[in-house]
Symmetry: C2
Subunit: 359 residues, 2 copies
């Protein structure tokens, strides 16, 4: 593959600006039409979060709330939303970003400040939902960086071209502004994401990138939004299969599932973040048995969590149901690094090849 | 500066192998001399941790314990230490690394396994202290990666040359194997480390690397060992002044102080990790007053912590004592990002220049 892959979302900036302008325009129009200005804000309550069987992730339903300048209690909220929108428009125009924390401090100068940061965070989320834009599009960046990536992919960030084989042993770090990155070129057949940096470094040392012609992604626990966006983009834009290998316990399962089918809390942005074609590669309860792995007994909290997962629509396929039942039956869990029982190289030399073949 | 800077520690591998061999040799000699084999292990108890006024960090005193094969209770511990030493020798010889977690699982095959990972961790620390080698020298890597670095420095990791201006917006990530990295070239006058990635991204966006001719280091809270080692190396090998700017609260103070004067717990490796010439740049209690920053009231736990710090030998200079007293007096703390009250650019355009001039 040699031709440059166009990032189909480079017009996101323009779309966002138009959405922000449209919001202000709608208020102006209400005034001009001598109507009381109001805004429709889609509901994020649990009753309005729906698992979409076709899309294979949670989406928002069509319920919404109305905020009106005719309601004294809502005047301040609408004013704040206008200020936040204006702040975001300025960010996007100047190609800057700010953290939610910074916005909270900036808001001190607005004359209608928030009582605490929780309030300004919720208002930023209101704006996301109302516009159907992600907070990253609005220039509001999470504090946290994304995963580490190692392997033969070339990315472009502004003027700079980066190859993730040549970024050092800890690889290329996915930045919160991942949507401004272009995929220039790559020479891999797949992506394998692992839960811990311990396993990431193991795979780099054992040259897994070469053996499996793969990108290696070190998730560092629960995947950051930027990581989920990166995986979504390699899946849809580069058509690469994505595999996720985590610890064999309910928490590892769910780190994978949030990448695959998104979270309920972020139903309004799952279309940007969920990668329904990504596959869970292990560690499964079957692996624990087949590889005779060192284990820890399930704790009460693990058992409760597994039972919750069994009822979750995202886990309803037969394979997941079987694995959850099996783990409850054996009463044991195991970590990725447990394969070291058979030597440091075993996980790359034996386990991964067998799992990839079986999938 | 154009000539390549030699990494003076590239013979660390050889030194470590010799230390490991020496340990085995001492046991063999005891046997040959028909003496009961024993080992001297320096004590890490609080009574043996001493603040060294000249070195300006904690060191271990000269107390030690003895482990002897003549003591039935100690036989297993000595056997385990031989296995761990052998495992480490193998790692260093093959230029591999393992996490403590991996070593714990590997030990399952030794026939004298540990009852839990805490036990194997402590034994690895025993080995560090006994040999006077760091766990990284022994190939035992922490899980966690180090800080993010942005700015004009060129590093060499194996065959790969990396420039930290060209590694993407999140910069170059310091890997746990930082001692295998050579400093090739740089064009900076100083290093500024900041506590949060929010502030790191702010500084990158405002081109602080250019304005202050500086490396920007994003600590991500408490600095990882690899980060401390990196800062030590830029301070001693490149002779660059290191400044640390954290939140204005006891936790921010102490993140800086652990970089400057090391921790008591790691007294045995502070000679590799502490950077006594590094300077705390803020946020101070004086800054809170002078810049009229948005604040939060000190909590009970903050007050207790400040009083602890006041008695800590690392904080005994007048400046620290004054700032601690002042913070207790005003009863307030402030975050780095609080400068956004005056606009996103203020911290780079106004605060840092004023602080750097005053230092």
């Amino acid at each position: 593959m040699t031709e440059k892959i166009k990032n189909p979302i480079n017009n996101r900036k323009e779309i966002t600006i138009n959405k922000l302008k449209g919001l202000g325009q709608s208020i102006i129009e209400d005034v001009e039409n001598k109507e009381i200005p109001s805004l429709k804000i889609p509901s994020r309550g649990t009753g309005n979060i729906v698992y979409d069987e076709n899309k294979r992730y949670y989406v928002l339903g069509d319920r919404y709330g109305k905020r009106s300048l005719g309601n004294v209690k809502q005047i301040k909220k609408i004013g704040q939303m206008m200020y936040v929108s204006n702040f975001c428009k300025d960010l996007v125009n100047r190609e800057k970003t700010a953290t939610l924390r910074e916005m909270y401090y900036v808001s001190e100068g607005w004359g209608m400040s928030f009582s605490d940061q929780n309030e300004s965070n919720i208002l930023a989320e209101d704006l996301e939902v109302t516009l159907g834009a992600s907070r990253e599009d609005l220039g509001l960046m999470p504090e946290e960086d994304g995963a580490s990536v190692y392997g033969n992919i070339t990315l472009q960030e502004g003027e700079v071209e980066i190859n993730a084989l040549k970024s050092g042993k800890s690889g290329y770090t996915i930045s919160p502004t991942i949507d401004e990155v272009d995929f220039v070129d790559h020479n891999v057949e797949r992506v394998i994401a692992v839960e811990t940096m311990g396993m990431f470094h193991r795979m780099v040392q054992e040259k897994a990138y070469d053996k499996f012609n793969t990108l290696i992604v070190g998730l560092k626990g629960q995947a950051a939004r930027a990581t989920r966006r990166f995986l979504k983009r390699v899946s849809t834009e580069l058509k690469l299969p994505v595999y996720i290998c985590n610890d064999g316990d309910p928490w590892g399962f769910h780190i994978a599932m949030v990448i695959i089918s998104g979270s309920a809390k972020l139903a309004h942005v799952n279309h940007d973040l969920a990668t329904p074609d990504a596959k869970f590669l292990g560690v499964t309860a079957s692996d624990i048995i087949n590889y005779d792995l060192p284990t820890d007994p399930l704790k009460e909290v693990d058992i409760m969590r597994l039972k919750e997962l069994a009822k979750d629509p995202r886990y309803k396929n037969k394979q997941w149901q079987n694995e959850i039942k099996k783990m409850l039956k054996i009463g044991k869990k195991a970590e990725q690094q447990a394969f070291s029982k058979y030597g440091l190289e075993y996980v790359v030399d034996t386990y991964f090849p067998e799992k990839l073949e079986n999938i």
